[in-house]
């Protein structure tokens, strides 16, 4: 692992956050994870607002985005990112409980980079998170202007 990109995990459920972080930890991918608890916080992070007023100035390598979020939901966050010239290059992965076709169609229409339904089985879940983490944070070459730990 030559470099590790920063992961922005947008997830409101603390248990899901814990399980996701646990899964990422198993593969030493958890160090560079920033967790936003709702859509607004995610946008704050991306726009250097609120708690993130003075954060280091680069975009995350990937955004793991839940759909059902308080305040600003996942689709709205996705829409905002993909309509912003400075943010639209950030890879966004929807990570959701739902099999709903209309969510999937809406996400792809907005330009999502991947759509993953969280498996009930923990093994499968861990595998999915691992694959995602490795692919997006390690294998994938993120667009210029992303945070990468050398």
């Amino acid at each position: 692992m030559s470099s590790l990109g920063r992961i922005l995990l947008v997830e409101d459920d603390p248990k899901d956050v814990e399980l996701t972080l646990t899964a990422l930890e198993e593969y030493n991918l958890a160090n560079e994870v920033v967790v936003a608890r709702d859509g607004e916080e995610a946008l704050d992070y991306l726009y250097y607002r609120g708690n993130y007023l003075r954060r280091a100035g680069e975009n995350p390598a990937v955004l793991l985005l839940d759909l059902k979020l308080p305040k600003v939901n996942g689709l709205e966050v996705l829409q905002q990112i993909k309509s912003d010239q400075n943010l639209k290059l950030i890879p966004v992965v929807i990570l959701t409980s739902s099999h709903e076709e209309k969510d999937m169609v809406a996400s792809y229409k907005l330009g999502v980079n991947a759509y993953v339904v969280k498996p009930v089985d923990f093994h499968e879940f861990v595998n999915a998170i691992k694959e995602l983490g490795i692919f997006w944070a390690v294998i994938n070459e993120p667009p210029p202007g992303s945070i990468k730990k050398r």
Binding site: K68, S98, V120, F122
Partner: protein, 515 residues
């Protein structure tokens, strides 16, 4: 005596074109015969009277004969009669008698006679013409009356309600249809004011209606009338204006057909439509609620389940070796159950989605679909020995992904329930292929089922086998049935315990591809 002459007179003035030539010639001959005849009678009459020593009465005789001749014979015979009268008068009554010589002193007398005769002829001709005109007018009138009577009796034949009113609304004609509809006889209705009698309610101000009637010559619209028995009617009125020779409006012919029943039904239908609209809106809102419910299940119920499974898995990992066998089994049971519930939720959501999703119908090759379904349903059992018998299948109009799901379910069932057989035989074919529908079947030699429970096969969560023997959520066949129903088809099954099962389903062959 006059009447017996009539045919000849008519012939003399206006010979009917259809009268034979010989007859017309005979009439002319008789007409001209009248001149000498009447002059001869006048001469004999005058001579007879002269014999009785009554003097100077010959002139009236001749004038009378001339009048008769011109009356019945016309101008030609009258001229001849005049000539003959002058000659006869000169010969028999003017000195010298029995000679045609005329003395100059008699000339004025002849002139006066001739003038007088001409005057009589002229008067007679005028009178005759007047009488002819009158007679012709009478005949025309008679013909017209006959025509009108016939028309009126024709109007009586129609079932339509027709009456005529003059420009002050007084009814002048009332047909049988009007009597039948409104209840008043023609005798009762004629002479009454129509709008008063029928208590007409107009759809627009009467002035506007009358204006349209005068401008266009006709008016159409729906009116409300009241019958003799007080019942109210809705009629579809069609009015036509009659004008006389000088284009003055004289009468209005009203054809009013009873549409009360039709109106009532229209109202009923529109009421039903309204109710239907309400019901549709209600169903739509229920459907929306269901969708929200399913969405919520999909998101909110799966999350805690995932957490349960996740933490249990972590617990299992962290306590590896520390738990006794029993506790390890408990952990395994928790994991198994959460996995099962995950499957149940997924199947239930898929089932509900089939009911809610719109169908996108295209021409689907069932051959291809069955091959796909076989490879999907058979992929988990590479070690099994399965003999596939797949007949050539037609194409049909349907929602590809739904039909695929149905076939996958049926074929997966066949694979599952033949598990106990050393060699499974699964046959997929087409039982019927008519212009109206196709019937497909999936037949296996598996454990089969008891026909006693055939009606339970397609129910949600209905299972005919213990979960230990054959896993499953009991939603598969319910899903297949729902898909078949959404395609307008039917599904049924045939089987016996230990002797395999056959599932049939029909798909209607509708014409035209809808997107």
């Amino acid at each position: 005596m006059l009447d017996c002459w009539r045919p000849m007179n008519e012939a003399s003035y206006s010979a009917p074109p259809d009268q034979p030539q010989s007859l017309r010639r005979r009439h002319a001959f008789l007409r001209y015969l009248l001149a000498p005849l009447s002059v001869a009678i006048a001469t004999f009459g005058a001579l007879g009277v002269d014999r009785l020593h009554v003097r100077d009465v010959e002139v009236p005789f001749f004038l009378f004969s001339l009048a008769l001749t011109s009356w019945y014979g016309g101008a030609g015979p009258a001229a001849i009669g005049l000539l003959l009268s002058v000659l006869s008068f000169d010969y028999f009554f003017v000195e010298p008698i029995y000679s045609l010589n005329i003395t100059s002193s008699d000339l004025p007398y002849f002139f006066i006679f001739t003038a007088f005769a001409l005057l009589v002829t002229w008067f007679s001709a005028i009178r005759r013409r007047v009488e002819m005109d009158l007679r012709q007018a009478r005949d025309r009138l008679q013909i017209e009356v006959a025509e009108r009577t016939q028309q009126a009796s024709l109007l009586n034949l129609t079932h339509d309600t027709i009456f005529v009113r003059d420009m002050s609304d007084i009814i002048t004609y009332w047909n049988r249809g009007a009597q039948e509809l409104y209840g008043w006889t023609a005798e009762e209705a004629v002479g009454k004011r129509s709008h008063d009698l029928l208590r007409t309610l107009f759809p627009a101000p009467i002035e506007a209606i009358n204006r349209e009637l005068l401008v266009k010559g006709r008016w159409e619209g729906e009116l409300s009338h009241t019958k003799r028995d007080g019942a109210q009617l809705i009629v579809s009125g069609r009015w036509a204006l009659q004008r006389d020779d000088r284009a003055q409006p004289v009468a209005v012919l009203e054809t009013n057909n009873d549409i009360t029943e039709r109106k009532r039904r229209e109202l009923e239908v529109s009421g039903l439509n309204e109710k239907l609209g309400e019901r549709t809106a209600e169903l739509e809102s229920i459907n929306k609620e269901l969708e929200a419910f399913a969405y919520s299940i999909s998101h909110d119920l799966r999350a805690p389940l995932r957490h349960m499974a996740g933490y249990t898995q972590l617990l299992k990992r962290n306590t590896a070796g520390a738990l006794n066998e029993k506790s390890q089994r408990y952990v395994a049971m928790i994991l198994e159950s959460s996995q099962k519930m995950g499957n149940l939720i997924d199947d239930l959501l898929a089932f509900s989605r089939i009911g809610r999703a719109e169908t996108h119908k295209t021409m689907v090759s069932l051959d291809q679909l069955v091959q796909e379904a076989i490879s999907e349903a058979g992929q988990d059992v590479p070690e099994r020995k399965i003999v596939w018998k797949v007949a050539a299948l037609p194409s049909c109009l349907g929602d590809r992904s739904m039909l695929r799901l149905a076939l996958v379910n049926l074929i997966a069932n066949a694979v599952k329930f033949t598990r106990t057989r050393d060699q499974a035989e699964i046959e997929i074919g087409c039982q019927e292929q008519s212009p109206n529908q196709i019937v497909l079947f999936v037949k296996d030699n598996g454990v089969g089922f008891d026909m006693k429970y055939v009606n339970k096969l397609f129910g949600v969560f209905q299972r005919l086998h213990p979960a230990e023997a054959f896993e499953g959520t009991g939603i598969g066949l319910a899903t297949v049935q729902r898909i078949v129903h959404r395609h307008g088809g039917r599904i049924w099954a045939d089987g016996a315990v230990g002797d395999g099962a056959t599932f049939y389903f029909s798909l209607p062959r509708s014409q035209g591809v809808t997107a």
